[in-house]
Symmetry: C2
Subunit: 130 residues, 2 copies
DNA sequence: GTTTATGCAAATTCTTTGCAATACT
DNA sequence: AGTATTGCAAAGAATTTGCATAAAC
């Protein structure tokens, strides 16, 4: 899991901003929003550029966007090509993968083409539920 | 499927705005955003009030919010209590139910509590795929 | 040297909020 | 009458865009 290796694999130019953002995701066990990235990153990276980076990474399958409540998209590293459930905690706002719960065998009705999937459960996570 | 009946059942006051919004959903086979509601409704209903109405309906289980790409939440009538897949077409932007594909037997890991679920596939719908 | 990404500033769009006025029960 | 909802205006937040500059290949 090396940022520059991932970038090379996807034929994306290795800029400091991209590398730093990608590192953040590699180190994180949860989904991050642009706002969280901007606040955590030490390197000064313009917000518009962060958005462009997230878009590029998603288009290349490096990140998976998770659309959830509160009008904010979070992104998470696409660890496996297998589609699985994500969970958003309404207490701590953390979004994480629940890779045990998979959705590989879903087939759509005739005529529908799948391009992207989002399986999200919102509730209380094990940590907040104490 | 009568708007006033639904409102009564949920002990919500029967205001013109709520009735008109609910009618729109009853007549619609697809999810609607606040913007779409505002443009389709003949009755002059303030945008802030539409948002408040959508929130109230969702809290009462009348509508189901669907969080999707393009930072806009759409809402759809909760026809059955069964959780099922929704589909968003990236061509025509239509969001619809695919009630054939159900998710009732998903059980989360120990400690997690489900409050709301969102199962969304994004792609090309049967109508745009011609 | 060309192409591509970034910074900056501004614009768009979605959504929420406070408060006085109004409609519902 | 009393409570809940609405209208209005303004604020807040997320996200995008144009264009000149700078960095990557």
């Amino acid at each position: 899991m090396d940022a520059t290796v991932i970038l090379r694999k996807h034929k994306l130019s290795k800029t400091t901003g991209r590398i730093e953002v990608l590192k953040l995701f590699i180190e994180s066990d949860q989904a991050l929003s642009e706002r969280e990235i901007h606040s955590r990153i030490e390197y000064s990276f313009d917000r518009a550029s962060i958005y462009r980076t997230l878009k590029t990474f998603s288009e290349n399958g490096i990140l998976h966007p998770v659309y959830g409540k509160n009008e904010m998209t979070k992104y998470i590293l696409q660890q496996t090509p297998e589609e699985h459930l994500h969970f958003k905690c309404s207490e701590c706002e953390k979004v994480m993968c629940l890779p045990e719960i998979k959705f590989n065998d879903i087939h759509l009705p005739e005529g529908f083409i799948k391009k992207e999937a989002n399986y999200l459960v919102i509730g209380i996570c094990d940590n907040c539920n104490l």
